[in-house]
């Protein structure tokens, strides 16, 4: 296949970023110090102009010199203006694919496409900063095509020698890509989301910024004083103002939430899960089901009150900062629906019912642990002795802190549950925030059992799992019975041989690769 360049829109995008980043320097040198003849200002201007010219030249040249080529099983990228760099990224290393359409690209009908690999460092992902939608689809198809071929090859190999359960599935004609849409929010979901995300609180910093900006030009403060006394002068006016503010805040919250969660779509086909969201800036993510290492279900106190929960996929590929929370399935689902959704999307992971509770000894150990934070805070309070109006004296504060600490420990004890069954492991914990973690044995890359001196006295232990993610996802469950910890260790170490084979089968290409 031929070498291609990014869409020229790439240049526009880079220029836009350049302008955005250098605007402050420009304003400083040419506007604020516009009249200045000082040597450093004049020199600064020339340096600025030189730097900008070089940057623009660099943007154009690096666009010109960056080419990519899609092979049947990899993508080749050449880049670098003077020193050339060649990268070869095999498709099999691609973990997740995500697209992001910022407003600038949207104007040109373009999109950015990122292929995430499991690697570390700067080569962790392959980014196509600006390609047409058709080209993005072509790249994704190349990925899919490779996968289909691989399955086909796997079929001929396994068809010949293996008669296992999985084989029959592969024998069937290759699945057409049928995407099932699992979830799109309705209006009431968006309303609930905007209420729950407390987006309207975001209005306060926005107003504060606007206020301080205006304040620079007009002396609001003196005017505001008159305004304030006008407000407080009459209860009716004050009431109306508060009501207006509340309406504005709620409207703002709904709009903000709508922009983020309004067009949400969770869909999947046999191999991948697709999440798309965003009204103005569109973001989408596709994850291979096999790459989902674990699922985490989080319930904040408020969500618990309303019976909502957020399910999040723990995956291998890393995300850029602002994409981090896209791996979450819609954060404002009914808990039951969230659990169902996990089941629908990931046939590999099962949500177990009837988890075990901690033994009484677990509670004892928790209560006996030294309350470091409370003690240190008490010592600090003792010396500092805060003296504010409405704040009670330090002994009362310290007592409240201790009560809170122990209450949380009790809640945590009450909430904690675990289940280790078949290939699944499942933990739930948390005092006010409640988190459930689900994974499979093959996805756990390390297991740990530990027992402190105190735990030994009461016959309880701590177990822990590590899953691949970036950074690694570590889960720990404290104070479960010693026997359960032993069971956990056996569960992990005494895999039956067929289970290991099943693990291998999950990636037929792996054996294929080593045979060829």
């Amino acid at each position: 296949m031929e070498n291609r360049r990014m869409h020229p829109g790439r240049i526009v995008l880079s220029l836009y970023e350049l302008i955005k980043n250098s605007a402050i320097v420009f304003i400083f040198l040419f506007v604020l110090r516009g009249g200045s003849d000082a040597v450093w200002v004049v020199a600064g201007r020339w340096i600025f102009i030189a730097a900008i010219s070089i940057s623009i030249l660099n943007i154009v040249l690096s666009w010109w010199r960056t080419t990519y080529r899609l092979e049947s099983d990899s993508v080749q990228i050449d880049s670098g203006v003077f020193s050339r760099k060649h990268r070869n990224v095999p498709f099999r290393r691609v973990q997740n694919v995500n697209r992001q359409v910022p407003a600038v690209l949207r104007l040109f009908g373009l999109t950015s496409l990122t292929l995430e690999t499991g690697a570390d460092g700067e080569d962790a992902s392959v980014k196509f900063p600006a390609v047409t939608k058709a080209e993005a689809a072509r790249i994704e198809e190349a990925l899919d095509g490779y996968r289909r071929e691989r399955m086909m090859a796997a079929q001929t190999v396994t068809g010949a020698e293996s008669m296992e359960g999985e084989a029959s599935e592969i024998q069937e004609p290759l699945p057409e890509k049928v995407r099932t849409i699992h979830f799109t929010p309705e209006l009431k979901d968006v309303l609930k989301a905007s209420f729950l995300s407390f987006s309207f609180i975001a209005l306060i910093p926005v107003l504060a910024t606007v206020y301080s900006n205006i304040d620079d030009f007009i002396d609001i403060e003196s005017r505001a004083e008159g305004f304030l006394s006008f407000l407080t002068g009459s209860g009716v006016v004050l009431g109306i103002t508060i009501a207006l503010f509340a309406v504005a805040a709620i409207a703002f919250g709904i709009i903000r939430t709508y922009l983020k969660y309004g067009r949400y779509e969770i869909s999947s086909d046999d191999e991948r899960i697709y999440i798309r969201r965003g009204v103005l800036t569109e973001q989408s993510l596709s994850v291979r089901k096999k790459n989902v290492q674990a699922v985490q279900i989080t319930e904040t106190p408020l969500k618990r009150l309303l019976g909502l929960a957020e399910a999040k996929l723990v995956t291998v590929g890393s995300f850029e900062d602002n994409l981090e929370d896209i791996s979450s399935l819609y954060p404002f689902l009914q808990k039951q629906r969230a659990v169902e959704l996990v089941g629908e999307l990931l046939p590999d992971i099962e949500v177990l019912d009837g988890m075990e509770r901690l033994p009484k000894a677990g509670l004892t150990v928790r209560m006996l642990r030294f309350p470091f934070i409370a003690v240190i805070a008490t010592v600090a309070l003792f010396f500092w002795r805060p003296d504010f109006p409405f704040v009670p004296d330090w002994p009362l504060l310290a007592a409240a802190l201790f009560a809170f600490t122990y209450l949380l420990r009790y809640f945590d004890y009450r909430n904690t549950r675990y289940a280790i069954r078949g290939p699944f492991v499942q933990f739930r914990k948390g005092g006010l925030w409640r988190e459930t973690f689900l994974s499979r044995r093959e996805k756990v890359i390390e297991a740990a059992v530990s027992q402190s001196w105190l735990q030994k006295r009461f016959g309880v232990a701590t177990i822990g799992t590590t899953n691949r993610a970036k950074p690694v996802h570590v889960e720990e469950l404290k104070d479960l019975p010693g026997a359960a910890a032993e069971q956990f260790d056996r569960w992990y170490t005494e895999r039956k041989p067929e289970l290991i084979r099943a693990d291998g089968e999950a990636e037929p290409w792996k054996t294929l690769q080593s045979e060829s």
Binding site: R92, R93, G118, K290, N291, V316, F383, I445, E446, A447, A448, V449, S450, Q451, S452, W453, K456, F458, G459, A461, T466, N467, R468, A469, P471, V472, G482, A485, E486, D489, Y492, T493, R495, I500, D503, E507, K510, Q513, S514
Partner: protein, 165 residues
Amino acid sequence: MEVDIREPEGRISKKAVTVWRLSNSIRHGIMLLVFAGLIIAGNRFGWWDWAMTVLWILGGLTILSAVYSIFIEPVILQRTWRYGADEEFVKLRHGVITVQHQTVPMTKVQYVGLEQGPLLRKFGLYTLTVGTMGSNHSIPALPEQEAKEFRNRISRLARIREEDE
């Protein structure tokens, strides 16, 4: 009641006790020197009283920690360290107050390496590091022969692969 988990057999070198004693003495010596310097400077320049109190407390804690980590900890740590590898897992067990059992499947091992700092070199010992996709684990103070054998054994069993998924 102690958790009953099959323990691996391998033990680390007895010389580890001496190595740890030396390294902990050096570390605590430096910390004590720093605190002593700060306290002298504080007296000289009349720092706040509370800052001096904090310095004295930290200095005292350092002395306690020195006694523990020079005279007590190395012996117990050396005695309780166990490591081993069977066909499927690398297993580690260690810890003085909290006993840790770690299990790493061979299939997830990404690399094994040997390291040797100046102190370890003096005693002919190596630290062996087993790295997985997410973290790494060290077995401290193995004699050269054992360290190399264990490294070769793991790299043979793990058949460190080109492919990751």
